[in-house]
Symmetry: D3
Amino acid sequence: MTVSPMAGDGAVESRFGMTELDDLPDDLRERIGAIAAKSGFVPNIFRALGHRPAELRAFLDYHDALMDPPARPDPPARPDPPARPDPPARPDPPAGGDSGSSSSGLTKAERELVVVATSAANHCLYCIVAHGAILRIRSKDPQLADRVAANPWQVELTDRSRVIVDLALALTRTPELFGDADIAKARDAGLTDDEIWDVGAITALFAASNRLAHLTALQPNPEFYLMGRNPRS
Amino acid sequence: MTVSPMAGDGAVESRFGMTELDDLPDDLRERIGAIAAKSGFVPNIFRALGHRPAELRAFLDYHDALMDPPARPDPPARPDPPARPDPPARPDPPAGGDSGSSSSGLTKAERELVVVATSAANHCLYCIVAHGAILRIRSKDPQLADRVAANPWQVELTDRSRVIVDLALALTRTPELFGDADIAKARDAGLTDDEIWDVGAITALFAASNRLAHLTALQPNPEFYLMGRNPRS
Amino acid sequence: MTVSPMAGDGAVESRFGMTELDDLPDDLRERIGAIAAKSGFVPNIFRALGHRPAELRAFLDYHDALMDPPARPDPPARPDPPARPDPPARPDPPAGGDSGSSSSGLTKAERELVVVATSAANHCLYCIVAHGAILRIRSKDPQLADRVAANPWQVELTDRSRVIVDLALALTRTPELFGDADIAKARDAGLTDDEIWDVGAITALFAASNRLAHLTALQPNPEFYLMGRNPRS
Amino acid sequence: MTVSPMAGDGAVESRFGMTELDDLPDDLRERIGAIAAKSGFVPNIFRALGHRPAELRAFLDYHDALMDPPARPDPPARPDPPARPDPPARPDPPAGGDSGSSSSGLTKAERELVVVATSAANHCLYCIVAHGAILRIRSKDPQLADRVAANPWQVELTDRSRVIVDLALALTRTPELFGDADIAKARDAGLTDDEIWDVGAITALFAASNRLAHLTALQPNPEFYLMGRNPRS
Amino acid sequence: MTVSPMAGDGAVESRFGMTELDDLPDDLRERIGAIAAKSGFVPNIFRALGHRPAELRAFLDYHDALMDPPARPDPPARPDPPARPDPPARPDPPAGGDSGSSSSGLTKAERELVVVATSAANHCLYCIVAHGAILRIRSKDPQLADRVAANPWQVELTDRSRVIVDLALALTRTPELFGDADIAKARDAGLTDDEIWDVGAITALFAASNRLAHLTALQPNPEFYLMGRNPRS
Amino acid sequence: MTVSPMAGDGAVESRFGMTELDDLPDDLRERIGAIAAKSGFVPNIFRALGHRPAELRAFLDYHDALMDPPARPDPPARPDPPARPDPPARPDPPAGGDSGSSSSGLTKAERELVVVATSAANHCLYCIVAHGAILRIRSKDPQLADRVAANPWQVELTDRSRVIVDLALALTRTPELFGDADIAKARDAGLTDDEIWDVGAITALFAASNRLAHLTALQPNPEFYLMGRNPRS
């Protein structure tokens, strides 16, 4: 890898070492192996957490419950007109059921938008670059992630996206000030309580995730920097 | 419940409603039931997260991996002299094994100390009161939790506890400034890398947990306020 | 005293030494003696300031003028219905008179609420614990002080209490931003100018008091931690 | 008074009205009258606090105990060489005596330096302008007050003055971070504990005073702006 | 120069040395010479930047374009009634022309008001003192500059001046939060887009200028401290 | 342009309109035309400032003096060994000469590093994306800009680059705290005074530039997002 003379030694991917896929317990090796097969590489976060399998497993479970629910499809990119369909009537989750957050109204792109915004406010290199790549892909917008990462507070967004991002930011840096006024603004803008929960819970999960990345000085895989930058990709 | 005229309506325990134990999936009902049997009540956090079973399950798993490992026993209270034994030779976790963070040198009281300190910096009512109660019990010190909650930055602590709390605080409010200098201070003070990981990971988990409590305006169970306040209890 | 292995040496009550009651000038010995007779102990703040009698005397005078005026009685605890009586018609203090703030509409519990809120924002251990105890007694609410101390910005309060706390907080940490808008909000909510003055002046006095406690690393008397925690006490 | 078109209505000196000298209780009228006779005018702070005589009296007592002790004379202005004499052997204040802070080593100019620095950090117009005037007179330096007011953190000072100002600033805006390290720096630089107390107590008193001025939107008397600006004055 | 024993060595005017007028390139020597002839002294900023003539030249050009346009005259001081004339019909700048910001509606006093407010928020000694002097002269108000410098956020101003200062402050310390809401407030208060640009551009230029002064620890010329303090001057 | 449904209307490039190249005065049209010929497009900043030709001209002059001096060539990319040559003996700039900052030791890549770091701390979208592109090209490192933009405080850099970035950051957000200690750290690490000036002056210029971009809500040209991302480009 060609590294500029100004960068430090890029070989150190994590402050506490990395665990190879083959050294993980079976369930984790299979689960992460499936991700790697799809992405073409093992995202560094999994190798950085790998020496604590129980923690990695819980982290993955939490992540999947919030980021990968069988949600409604992302709307097509403009100029195919972006008319957001009315939120589908969402049946209350059956008590005792286990459908997770699966039927929530937040699109997967919106979930990644929350991640990039909150990670930007926390200046988390790994999460900005890795989830910025996913946001590019999910939103089919090659600039959005860079724009959100530069300034989540003022980046120009649609009204709905702005409300989502404002809600996430309110909980990110000064959670002690979060209160009824923030909830009211989100509801007034049309977010359902289920969507508000999603935004809040994703912000909470990445409050943890950002700090794990800061703790380990985690470096993004090189592949993330370029993913989704070309309209074709 | 007698409530002062100054307090708001104490009947609202969570902004998004509470799930009763009987409405949880079987595994969660059993797991939380066991906690309730031991405590004498169901801690409100579980009922507040209960309508999202997959998230609650992941949260519990993460919590248990970090807070309830089969760790070394807490040292006895002073004046039985507190001479901290040398950290036991800790074998590297067997690759592919699943021992979690079980053999780490952090005592359970120290883990709760991290929780109270980081929750105090985040002004999280539920976590301060609930984990303050547990800290009182684990530390056998009826004042420590109130003192840490009032001012985690300057509360008088032993050198080892101060290093642990400083490390947690460095990651809590300005994680973007966390770096090699923080790690070096902890190592210089004798913390092992496994202990540093524990402090960082617990801080990360409660960065999430604090925000879930802020999201839901979660109220502590009344029982927590009094637990462990009397030397006998 | 049994102290946990994690706490530092609890024997140091103040950074600059303590003055015993017998070593104070006569007027102060009598005055503080009367407090001690009532409380059962000499609050540490008096002993910490005792080596500067002129300062201690001025501090006590200022404190009494604001905290112990012959004010209207605190309303009874709920469920005795909390209907706040209309503020009594308060005659203007006679010019040249010396009635201090005695006829102001703030109850003694509300005055302690201001102290706990502003001391919480300043993370002052002594004032949170000592005045938290008094707030528990005055409000007859064993949880209120802990709740305010954890997060004064968002703790659920009645509308009137919230306005009082918001006014105090506006002056606490960023006094340079305090202005007409803060005054207008308080007036709009029904606070009289005399009540606004009380809130502001108490906040000001405890801006000083908090800093004296930080200067001296003042420890609360152990008795304060438990006072007023049981409904019966 | 000629007022620029950009300034608001300068006739409002205080948000809650002003009390005339003749309307004060006898002792306060005499005491403040003596100050007015010396200054040529009644400083606005006294008229703004006058409607609460008990508070005004306590404020004056506290102020005098800290700002007007019979201290050692200020050293002459340079170039008469500024060699700071060794601190005089200071006998411990006799227990039960009432000498206040009278024999402390801080000069009156240094006390005003603390006031201007802490008031600058709190952006308190009244205290910066009024005590800036006194600092010009006490220090015989017509520029010092403006320089400290502009940037107390970096204004160039002698080593002793810098230590004094740093100590005051450490306690001003983030008192929760004040600790042993701040005390140690001051001691290492040669400040006695009595001097450290003076700096801390003056900072505390003006934490209150600044907030009273913010509460009342107190305007400085016009005379203060010009006092001590000419080397001759 | 008589300097108080508390001030540091006043002989150091700039951290990186000063360039004498005679050592500047011809165009700069003439240009700054003209300023010096008018003021009676060479403002220190020019000598501090003089060793980098290209930078000094660009700085002067930028400054003149924003601060010295042939603008409408400042209105006379009150009580000559301050009725602000309607902004003159301002023709659009001819495309390709070079009239700079010359016909903008901001008076020169208002431009200096922006400088003092933003420099106060940045605690820049040189700019507060030097431009405070110019503001006193331009506004014919000997107190305004000291009042703005002490607390730009809350100093009492006319509505128009307050809007101007608020706009400048919004861009000064947290530019990432500057947005449409700030622009809307200024427009609602009657500022034209040309005036908004002036406020923003002056704030931007002095964001640079303040930092150059901080970089060089630049001291104001002694003359600035006294200029414009007497109604007659 | 395909824009995601989440982004706002990307057609608005600047809050106050854009000036076309043909509408600029001759000298500016030629100068910016040359830049456009080289880049393949007109960077938006020039069109956004174009309606104020005098300001644009001064801005360009300042920029060129600091960013485009005839400096020493950037060192080749690693693994061609990065041994930084000793700083060339730099003759003092001849008094009265006009060589600008031309012989300074900062490479062009280092200058862009300062811009990206300070713009990241100010969350300036335009400057991060536009100068991030230039940094990629100058440093021949396709990841460096994204890494610096995400977290300038902790991004791993060589010692020299870290010192440069730390110096810039110290002056960016809290310039009032910038002082001798910052200068000493830079000198101790081997930076010459000329290099320190460059870092400080570039930081100052982009303090202005960032605020102009925030004032105008300036959008980066789409081309910038992709420039220099492929090792070959």
